[in-house]
């Protein structure tokens, strides 16, 4: 290899290069801190400004309010009405209804597919399953939102005779499609990471392949599956375009999955463009952003923590 000719070493260049690379690596760290800082900054008036608190204090956002004298107190999200109402309860209910449907749909499919591809699938089929799931994950959420809005909603309405075309069920199912790859990937990783020695031990005791899977691999990989579910839930809460397009966006306090819903993420997406800069409404939208950030941050942190523990345990055992 005559092409490689190295110039004399320069300590300064070496030093500057390393520091530049190190500084670059801090971008991700800085980004996380800046995201929190710049979003929370705009939500501070809710805690500090009495003028803003008259309309939107923490208690006004969570406790039932009597908006007109003599009327029954209720939770209500109507930021643009004459008496602005900023109760987060309807949005909370909407967010969790959509996430619930998504998880009920995605967990059996994601975990089932993970079990099949790590335990039963012939090697060649496995090489097909993974790209298929990757492609599913690659579909832009606005395309899924479009599909749920135009196609799936009509199918569901015709099949079940629903009153509202756009509802929690419709949005939740589409949301589930984005959650499946998350659950699948994490669960599959955990199962393939179970050491061979464990499988061999069960086989030596006379277990056939599926007994090995269900008595050995699955229990050992259970924390990984749980982590997949946790991370998938984080995804379901934060996903925006699907719920914005397919959920009906009506902030209703109801337990029914066939009513329209309005989620945290969709509320921010729909109202941010028209909100008056610096108004209480503006502050509340950034407060919702802060909530979403903190919620998903904690969810991701706990998912990662479970995976870290699992990895340490499995590696510790094989040493």
């Amino acid at each position: 290899m005559s092409g490689y000719h190295f110039k004399p070493k320069s300590r300064i260049r070496e030093f500057v290069g390393e520091k530049l690379i190190a500084a670059n690596a801090l971008v991700a760290l800085a980004a996380i801190a800046l995201i929190f800082l710049f979003i929370f900054k705009e939500a501070i008036p809710i805690f500090a400004d009495p003028q803003v608190q008259k309309e939107a204090s923490v208690s006004r956002m969570t406790v039932k309010q009597e908006f007109y004298a003599g009327r029954e107190p209720k939770w209500s999200w109507q930021p643009n009405s004459e008496v602005p109402k900023y109760s987060l309860v309807p949005l909370f209910i909407g967010t969790f209804k959509a996430a619930l449907v998504a998880m009920l749909f995605a967990i059996p499919l994601g975990v089932g597919a993970a079990i099949y591809s790590s335990e039963f699938a012939p090697a060649r089929l496995r090489e097909i399953i993974k790209p298929v799931i990757e492609l599913l994950a690659a579909i832009p959420s606005v395309v899924l939102g479009f599909f749920a809005l135009i196609v799936l909603a009509s199918w569901l309405q015709n099949a079940f005779g629903l009153t509202y075309r756009l509802n929690a069920l419709n949005a939740g199912l589409a949301l589930g499609i984005t959650v499946i790859p998350v659950v699948y990937t994490v669960a599959e990783d955990a199962m393939t990471a179970v050491p061979r020695s464990l499988r061999d031990a069960a086989t030596a005791l006379g277990a056939n392949p599926w007994q090995v899977s269900f008595t050995m691999v699955l229990p050992a990989a259970l924390p990984g599956i749980a982590a997949g579910v946790v991370l998938g839930f984080g995804r379901a809460i934060g996903e925006t375009m699907i719920v914005l397009m397919a959920s009906g966006n009506a902030a209703i306090v109801s337990g029914s999955l066939t009513d329209s819903i309005r989620t945290f993420s969709a509320t921010v997406a729909a109202e941010m463009a028209e909100v008056v800069f610096g108004s209480p409404h503006y502050n509340v939208l950034f407060f919702i952003g802060t909530l979403l950030f903190v919620l998903t941050f904690l969810i991701n942190l706990s998912g990662d923590f479970i995976l870290l523990r699992l990895r340490e345990r499995i590696q510790g055992r094989t040493k």
Binding site: Y4, F6, K9, R13, E14, I21, N24, A28, L29, I32, I35, F38, I39, L109, V111, G112, A113, I115, S117, I129, P131, V132, I133, E134, L135, A138, S141, V142, V143, G145, F146, I150, L205, P209, W210, Q211, S213, T215, P219, A220, L222, I237, G238, E239, T240, M241, L244, M245, S265, V268, M272, A273, L285, F286, G289, L292, F293, T296, F297, R317
Partner: protein, 311 residues
Amino acid sequence: MNAESRQVPLVFKSKTSGRIPRGLTFAAVFLIALMLVIIVTNIFLGGFRTVDWTFLTHAPENGMESGGIFPAIFGTVAMVILMVIAVVPIGVLTAVYLHEYTRPDSLITRLIRVAINNLAGVPSIVFGLFGLGFFVGFVGSGLDSMFYDSPRPVWGQPAIVWASLTLALLTLPVVIVSTEEALRVIPRELREASYALGATKLQTIIRIVIPQALPGILTGAILGVSRGAGEVAPIMFTGAAYYLPHLPSSLHDQFMVLGYHVYIMATQSPNMEVTRPILYGTVLVLLALTILLNVVAILIRSRLRSRRAYA
């Protein structure tokens, strides 16, 4: 739960064939594949008649009821090019730092890893808020008050550069993870050979390690582009516009983009029956773009992996 403490039956008696669990889990795989097929087929059938050369190269006309989507394609491409210029160097150097300079268990490495994992999990709408608050409101307005003396904002308004930078942050984890995977494959002997020839660490990284990792870096960039091209929530307040008569000509212009076009047409079209073919056509272009990019990335990666198998 420990393996030691778990009760494992010492003799497996029942010789059930396992056909039921096998069948059930296969059904899950089948259903997932079926969903992919249904979605792609539906969008293809709804859109392929609309998508032709005229559709791809002309601007919308009559309030989106006829014409094409060229400005949205142009905006999407311009946006992801700017995004790649920002995200690839940062992502690659971060991966190099984590893999070549620090030990995996050092505090700073772990902190950066936590940050990367969490960055990947931040909801896209939160990126949108951040882009608005930080890039438009802080950096942009800051530039305006320092260098411009005009009542109308120049940089302190939604613009293509801010949308691209917001997406760069969103796709940073994709590029880092992909690059790191490539760095792990490079044999240590290659680095040692470089040192033996008298190269310094920095020279080794620039002339040996990074060129060797190029396929992985390329994969990361492609996956990042695929992700960025389809995102809508992060750019809806930071630069995307529904209709503009002119193409963006500078970094501080607003721009049209495929994903946002789909969102507005699907939710705010006054005459759905007329615009439906154009809507389907736009969705098909966007979907075809992302699927194509992902297939390319999958192919590059599978070649990379088979190379490792023979190394």
